[in-house]
């Protein structure tokens, strides 16, 4: 019981800390922050259920008014803004990434990277793009065009999620709860 609770809480804190990491600008000036890497890691390291709960806890703190989203954003406003769909998709993305990690027998890097791509990009974009379509009153394909700018950064992050998960699997196999 205690271990579940502390893992969920510490990974919610990890998502916040990764959002504080200064953003690295990709070539075209597209900023990437490590926050969505944190979302992916919640799933690939903690597993589907705990990972999704960690993300929910993180979002709860954002809603309560803590500036934990990358760039110091937070509060209730972000849940009605154009990126709200991404926030709704966060826990589901973590769940799917975790589910892939748990249910496949792929080696850790490939399982986590594909979890990152399918959950952290595929599923997340469905929610994010739908959200932008609703708030900005655009069609889905128009909104998708806006979301594409983030794709290169997110592909890199899925690969990083694979590398980090693999490193944990090697350094501390017992700590990789998704595969425990």
């Amino acid at each position: 019981m205690e271990r579940n609770l502390t893992h969920i809480a510490l990974f919610a804190a990890l998502i916040a800390v990764l959002g504080l990491v200064p953003r690295v600008d990709l070539a075209a000036g597209v900023p990437i922050t490590a926050q969505s890497l944190g979302i992916m890691l919640c799933g690939t390291v903690l597993g589907a259920k705990r990972g999704a709960l960690a993300v929910l806890l993180f979002l709860l703190l954002v809603a309560l008014g803590l500036p934990l989203l990358s760039g110091g954003r937070g509060g209730l406003g972000v849940f009605v803004g154009p990126s709200a769909g991404f926030l709704v998709g966060f826990p589901i993305a973590a769940f799917v990434a975790g589910w892939i990690m748990e249910r496949t027998t792929l080696p850790p890097f490939w399982a986590a990277a594909s979890g990152g791509v399918i959950g952290g990009i595929g599923v997340l974009y469905v929610f994010g793009i739908s959200g932008m379509a609703i708030v900005l009153d655009k069609t889905l394909s128009e909104a998708a065009l806006l979301g594409l700018g983030f794709l290169p950064g997110d592909v890199i992050k899925a690969a990083l999620a694979g590398l980090v998960t693999q490193a944990i699997a090697r350094a501390r196999p017992g700590a990789l709860l998704a595969r425990a």
Binding site: A13, V17, V45, L61, G65, A167
Partner: protein
């Protein structure tokens, strides 16, 4: 922990958090229900009036800063509708988005974290059989406690890296920081057990 609650004390700070959240929910619902630029414009004026009337210029400027992440979207929508020559629709989208976010931020800026948590505990009461309120409060406290601990750990790791390398660590830090979070989770679980568990 730094919160987004404004240090400028406004009369809105003294209103009950539950009431503010209820009003916000109704207001947001109305914004997404109407398609009249006039009504939305009045809504924005109302929100702007609340910022200025309750908190004054400094408070309102802070509120404007919190809207900054919206401007790229505003620009895209404006250009888009300029191109389509459908300015009325563009105005509706922009007004609705800005007003909704500004109103929500206003509640955040005028409500203390402890009051928010009290409302949350009330809202979560029906969940008590699955999620005891004490455990939820404990989880929230743990996150707030361990954000500075974990970011301190990340800073230490970055310094250890720089001490032995000419280049900044960038992404290579993510693995060790995630491991630190896992290790902390184990020791904190132990500390929690030492004081009677998570109940």
């Amino acid at each position: 922990m730094l919160t987004l609650t404004s240090p400028v004390e406004t009369p809105l700070h003294r209103l009950r958090a539950g009431g503010k959240l209820g009003a916000l929910a109704l207001f947001t619902f109305a914004l997404f229900w109407t398609h009249s630029a006039l009504v939305l414009g009045l809504g924005l004026i109302l929100v702007a009036g609340l910022y200025l009337g309750a908190g004054g210029l400094r408070f309102a400027r802070h509120g404007l800063q919190m809207l900054r992440p919206l401007w790229p979207f505003v620009a895209v929508v404006a250009l888009w509708h300029l191109w389509l020559e459908d300015l009325a629709m563009g105005a509706v989208v922009v007004l609705r988005m800005v007003t909704a976010v500004a109103a929500a931020n206003l509640v955040t800026m005028t409500t203390r974290l402890s009051d928010m948590i009290t409302v949350l505990e009330g809202l979560a009461r029906p969940l008590a059989p699955v999620l005891p309120p004490r455990r939820l409060a404990l989880a929230i406290a743990l996150v707030i406690r361990f954000i500075p601990v974990l970011s301190g750990r990340a800073e230490q790791l970055a310094q250890a890296w720089r001490a032995r390398s000419g280049r900044p660590p960038r992404w290579r830090l993510f693995g060790p920081v995630a491991l630190a979070a896992l290790d902390d989770a184990e020791t904190v679980a132990e500390a929690l057990r030492a004081r009677g568990g998570a109940g």
